[in-house]
């Protein structure tokens, strides 16, 4: 797998995200998360609900809700410090070099604009000088690249007229075909049926390979992440409890990871009773465990 | 003494309530704390609490008889020794008139809400729940009622039955209930799809039980919020009717009428019209702030 030995594509050190409640008390949703991503690498972030994985993805792109308090020792993209950057420069960076795909195209696509109109907005950022004819061609080409069989019809459709799988392909066409350096995929297949998921993942795979994009794949599905990514980070209650290569996860060290792996009912030879995860309060206070 | 309130608080906020009463009181307390976290809402609440206290204790605290005309003390400015808010053209104490007027204002507003909210709620939930022709018939009736403009209807009533407080209340009520019916119907349509309604049917609950025990309680919060926000408008409408001479009749110290009668001396004795006007403004504002606060409290995202 291609790794850039010089500079990591993305570097986060000691990220902390908190929210202030009604009574003024601060709740930490992410506590001291650190990770590194190299160019062309696929990193999976796995956790259950409340682990802070979605917030991490959004923090990178500057999409946290306004009442979130975010601080980190380092948060760098391609050597540039994201925290010290001006808001405008950060937005430009996010538009051009970083991208995000979200879970449900029903909610992440604008319902009152056709697909073509939305894609035009997205492409405009990268190629502002393109004329109408050329933009249309570019849109059709992008849709064809994600294996949409009837790109002309889909381009003029509204999001609610598309199925879930088609909607995700449109999202991929919009966000990934321009070749961002980093893509954050937040549960891209969780709302899709299993067969459609595989198709969408294949398309994503193709796109990422083509552009050598770095990927952060956020999901609650550990087996899926293990099969799609190179490295996996397991989060629990806002902390990283394990980081290792995907193929080494079967030999995971941390009891939470082992518990998650065991909790999935296996199709072949299922046990009489599924091993139940016993949450140890000690996990809340541990530092990150490196094993690769 | 320190352990007293602390024990109460712990009891209310307990994670494991031991009875339904404790759970319900705990929920109410949590809502109160959320409400109290917003200073504007608390301000509105305080104003309204004061209004209620003043209205309730009116005769006890009013310094003068509101109807007594002392012609030698006409148009005294505010700050005068025995007339803190001054007097009007007939020498009547404005403060006392304000106090007695608050009783009128409050009772009219409450009367309207008490009539309008149950009717709107019942019609709206029934229409939304049963659907079909029941829905059609009820909604068309609602549309007819919506078509009447408030003030024009009040004028018509005044012309037909003579002016007065009761007629004003009737006129406002007839035009106010459709909004609540629509609101309740919209909520009901959304709730009817919910799984817990399906479960109730599966358990064999009758239609009436589902409607009254399951759906109506869930519609009440949005209707109450709406009613609180509407109160401001109702008070203004009552004042407007009073201004036009269609509400409470002289010498009744109705605030709107006071503003109207102060018109003539506005340039020289500004306080006769302005002070009751300010009272109307304050009370309307207070209801608005209270309604906003209540809406935040009942926001379903917080489990309200």
């Amino acid at each position: 797998m291609p790794t850039d030995m010089t500079q990591p594509l993305c570097e986060i050190d000691e990220l902390r995200i908190g929210f202030r409640g009604h009574d003024g008390e601060l709740t930490d949703a992410v506590r001291g998360l650190s990770l590194t991503l190299h160019r062309g690498e696929r990193l999976g972030i796995v956790g259950e609900s409340g682990s802070g994985k979605t917030l991490t993805g959004r923090a990178l792109l500057g999409l946290l809700p306004p009442d979130a308090l975010c601080q980190a020792k380092t948060m760098k993209f391609d050597g540039q410090d994201l925290l010290a950057m001006s808001a405008r420069k950060r937005r430009q960076l996010c538009g051009r070099q970083m991208s995000m795909i979200l879970q449900d195209p029903k909610y992440s696509l604008n319902p009152v604009m056709t697909v073509a109109q939305q894609m035009r907005e997205a492409f405009h950022l990268h190629s502002p000088k393109l004329g109408r004819r050329e933009m249309r061609d570019k849109i059709i080409a992008a849709l064809a690249a994600v294996h949409v069989r009837d790109p002309e019809r889909v381009a003029d459709a509204y999001p609610h007229e598309l199925s879930g799988g088609m909607g995700q392909r449109v999202m991929i066409a919009m966000m990934v075909s321009s070749g961002p350096r980093l893509l954050v995929a937040d549960e891209p297949t969780s709302a899709l049926d299993v067969l459609v998921s595989m198709q969408v993942l294949r398309i994503l795979d193709e796109m990422i390979e083509k552009h050598d994009t770095g990927l952060i794949f956020i999901s609650h599905d550990l087996p899926l992440v293990m099969s799609f990514c190179d490295r996996v980070v397991v989060m629990y209650a806002g902390r990283v409890v394990e980081t290792c290569a995907a193929r080494d996860l079967v030999h995971a060290q941390h009891p939470y990871t082992r518990g998650l792996l065991a909790a999935n009912p296996p199709l072949i030879d299922p046990p009489d009773e599924l091993p139940v995860l016993k949450r140890d309060a000690a996990w809340l206070a541990e530092s990150t465990g490196e094993s690769a | 003494m320190n352990t007293g309130p602390r024990r109460w608080k712990d009891w209310l906020l307990s994670d494991t309530p031991a009875s339904r009463r404790q759970a319900a009181l705990g929920l109410a307390y949590r809502r109160w704390r959320r409400f109290a976290g917003n200073p504007l809402s608390v301000f509105g609440f305080v104003i309204l609490a004061l209004l209620i206290i003043v209205a309730a204790s009116g005769p006890l605290i009013a310094p003068h008889d509101p109807l007594q005309q002392v012609l030698s003390d006409r148009l005294l400015p505010p700050g005068s020794p025995s007339h803190w808010f001054g007097t009007d053209q007939l020498g009547r104490d404005i403060l006392s008139r304000l106090i007695y007027g608050s009783r009128l204002t409050l009772s009219i507003a409450i009367l309207v809400v008490v009539i309008v909210v149950p009717i709107g709620l019942l019609i709206g939930t029934t229409a939304g729940f049963f659907g079909g022709w029941v829905d059609n018939v009820l909604m068309r009736i609602t549309d007819v009622a919506l078509a009447f403009p408030k003030i024009v209807l009040a004028l018509a009533f005044a012309a037909a039955l003579g002016p007065g407080v009761i007629n004003a209340v009737i006129a406002i009520s007839i035009t106010a209930w459709p909004a609540y019916a629509r609101l309740a119907r919209a909520e009901t349509l959304r709730l009817v799809q919910a799984d817990f309604i399906h479960v109730a049917r599966l358990q064999g609950a009758s239609q009436m039980r589902i409607l009254l025990r399951y759906i109506v309680p869930l519609c009440t919060s949005s209707v109450i919020v709406r009613a609180t926000l509407d109160m401001a408008g109702i008070i203004l409408t009552v004042a407007g009717l009073g201004f036009l001479g269609l509400g409470a009749q002289p010498p009744s110290p109705e605030w709107g009428f006071m503003v109207a009668s102060g018109r003539n001396v506005l340039l020289d004795s500004w306080w006769v019209a302005t002070i009751p006007g300010f009272a109307i403004l304050l009370v309307s504002l207070a209801f608005n702030l209270l309604g906003d606060g209540l809406r935040d409290v009942f926001d379903p995202r917080h489990g309200g």
């Binding site: 797998m1 259950e48 609900s49 879930g164 049926d193 299993v194 067969l195 459609v196 595989m198 993942l201 795979d205 609650h220 550990l222 087996p223 899926l224 293990m226 099969s227 799609f228 995907a246 193929r247 996860l249 079967v250 518990g259 998650l260 909790a263 999935n264 009912p265 296996p266 199709l267 072949i268 030879d269 299922p270 009773e273 599924l274 091993p275 139940v276 | 994670d15 494991t16 309530p17 031991a18 009875s19 339904r20 404790q22 759970a23 929920l27 919910a194 799984d195 817990f196 399906h198 479960v199 109730a200 599966l202 358990q203 064999g204 609950a205 039980r209 399951y214 309680p217 869930l218 489990g303």
Partner: protein, 265 residues
Amino acid sequence: MIDVSALTVRFRTKTGHVDAVREASFHVDEGEVFGLVGESGSGKSTILRALSGLAPIASGHMKIGSHVLGEKVPRAFRRDVQMVFQDPYGSLHPRFTVDQTLREPLTINGIDRQDERIVDALGEVGLGPAYRFRYPHQLSGGQRQRVAIARALIVEPRVLLLDEPTSALDVSVQAEILNLLRRLHRERRLTMVLVSHNLAVVGFFCQRVAVMRNGEIVEQCDIASIRAQRVEHEYTRSLLTATGGYQREPSYASHSGANGGVTKR
């Protein structure tokens, strides 16, 4: 126990009608756990609703125990068949405490000794008396599903229908709920019909499975065949393959799924 033959469920739309279920037939013995697998739109949930009397039957024949499902559903039926829904956040009334939620079916059906039964029901699903007077928003997803299960079982039904009971839950919570369901099945000898899109969940729990696609049952077999991949229909086969996880191109050195999935393509 359950007999379904040539069931068709038709919904009227603005432009005509759509058949959510077409000519479905299957049989479930008493005490058996039967699985219905399929993707969204396959009609599996619709069959469940038809079984519980909540969906209109256009044609076909359904029999549960001694009840023949037609127009009128007798009260006794309501006590024999209960259902657990998918969304733990939508299946509990937001203003009822757990106690009230469990009391409703008892009151509606005129069952006595209510307090006793409520405490017993909570204990059976692993929730202590501390949870009895909480509101739904004070419970986690897994706890809400436990309450939903307790509510379904408190009237002592003979048939339990489960519509994707764990799809909305975290994996670790899913494991607990599946264990709970299994224990309850064994203790009460219930007949269960479990609907899921997840072949592994169905595989853990069910004895026989029907695979649905576009409103039709394309294959019915017992679970051993599924595990050994002795399946006939190519749709079932593709579902099995997909359950094994994503397969990356061989040019990248990495394993496929670790849960004993299929590696053939």
